[in-house]
């Protein structure tokens, strides 16, 4: 699978811009900070950290000239799976990110509570991904960073 093969199926082409990449990266950072606010529920904090992961994945796609077709089911899954192509993530990391996506689904759509363990992992993964994204952009697309 390449990103180009997914065009029309789960991705569409866009023209990368520095503004969009910066906006996504900054929004992801704010979401990571929000996820650490102790005064709100685990579910809200988890949702915030998960959103940061998704935004970072979207930033990766954007930097390569793509975005997910949000109208298609599974666009979160697509954004996460493409991280191996965009930022070169190993499959071990994708397994954990995908598990977090599933936790988010049951929390969001079935009202499950989110255990602290899932929140801790979600914040950790979001922070790692944020650093990976920044380093990748510096090394590969300094014009977008």
């Amino acid at each position: 699978m390449s990103l180009e093969n997914l065009v029309g199926i789960s991705l569409e082409k866009v023209t990368p811009s520095k503004q969009t990449v910066s906006r996504l990266l900054e929004a992801a950072s704010r979401h990571i900070s929000d996820a650490k606010v102790e005064q709100v529920s685990m579910e809200t904090r988890f949702g915030s950290a998960y959103t940061a992961i998704r935004m970072l994945a979207d930033a990766g796609l954007h930097a390569h000239g793509y975005r997910t077709l949000a109208s298609r089911p599974g666009h979160h899954q697509t954004a996460i799976q493409t991280l191996s192509h965009t930022f070169g993530l190993e499959s071990a990391a994708l397994i954990r990110l995908d598990a977090l996506r599933r936790q988010r689904n049951v929390a969001e759509y079935e009202g499950d509570t989110v255990p602290r363990s899932a929140l801790v992992e979600c914040i950790r993964q979001a922070e790692v991904l944020s650093a990976v994204a920044t380093n990748w952009l510096k090394a590969n697309r300094p014009d977008l960073h």
């Binding site: 397994i95 598990a99 009202g111 255990p115 602290r116 363990s117 801790v120 992992e121």
Partner: protein, 205 residues
């Protein structure tokens, strides 16, 4: 070695090949397999498996059907003990067996673990995840890593809920609706006991 439900399975079904073939056919009703397929899936020789299948057929637990030059076996769902036997298998050697094996590397950090939701109720559909509760000091990522390897084998995704002992106890005490609901519903126990978590109070984190 921790006492688990898998021990019940080996007491009830000491013949491992018989156990495997029962899981293969009774937990996948509607599945028709020929001898060579069954022996390949269970890692036995066709000769050994043939004997096993003949006995199970003679006992009425399996249906036999000749298709061309092959003999196909399937679960006899109209056998009087089929529902109970399938239930016992589901709760012992089926999914539980595979999951117990998967969590073995992290089991020292697990006080309590059980399957809940549609798989435990026996109402799972082709796309259902296995909902797994894990209480202990294990971290979420480590639990995911341990379980990921068996998803292909189960043909299902495994979705763990990982609570620390303290978090679990306080939710129970507070009457949290999610926790109350899964405690009330059907469960397949893998590790520990529901009412007395193993080594209570050890995990203070």
């Amino acid at each position: 070695m921790k006492a688990t439900k898998a021990d019940v399975a080996s007491v009830l079904f000491p013949a491992i090949y018989r156990r495997q073939v029962l899981v293969l056919l009774l937990l996948h009703p509607g599945r028709k397999l020929h001898v060579r397929e069954i022996s390949r899936l269970t890692g036995t020789t066709a000769g050994t498996m043939n004997k096993e299948l003949t006995r199970l057929h003679e006992a009425g637990l399996l249906d036999r059907e000749r298709v061309g030059n092959q003999v196909h076996y399937s679960a006899n769902r109209s056998h009087p003990i089929y529902p109970e036997l399938a239930g016992i298998l589901r709760k012992t050697v089926g999914i539980a067996d595979v999951l117990i094996e998967a969590i073995a590397p992290i089991v020292d950090e697990v006080e309590l673990s059980f399957i809940y939701g549609s798989v435990a109720r026996g109402s799972e559909t082709a796309g259902s995840d296995v909902d797994l509760l894990v209480v202990g000091s294990v971290d979420f990522g480590a639990a995911v890593d341990a379980l990921h390897g068996v998803e292909k084998r189960l043909g299902r995704e495994v979705n763990p809920k990982v609570y620390t002992q303290r978090e679990w106890n306080s939710k129970r005490k507070a009457g949290d609706s999610f926790v109350t609901e899964i405690l009330k519903g059907p469960k397949i126990l893998l590790v520990g006991e529901i009412d007395e978590p193993r080594k209570p109070g050890r995990n203070k984190s």
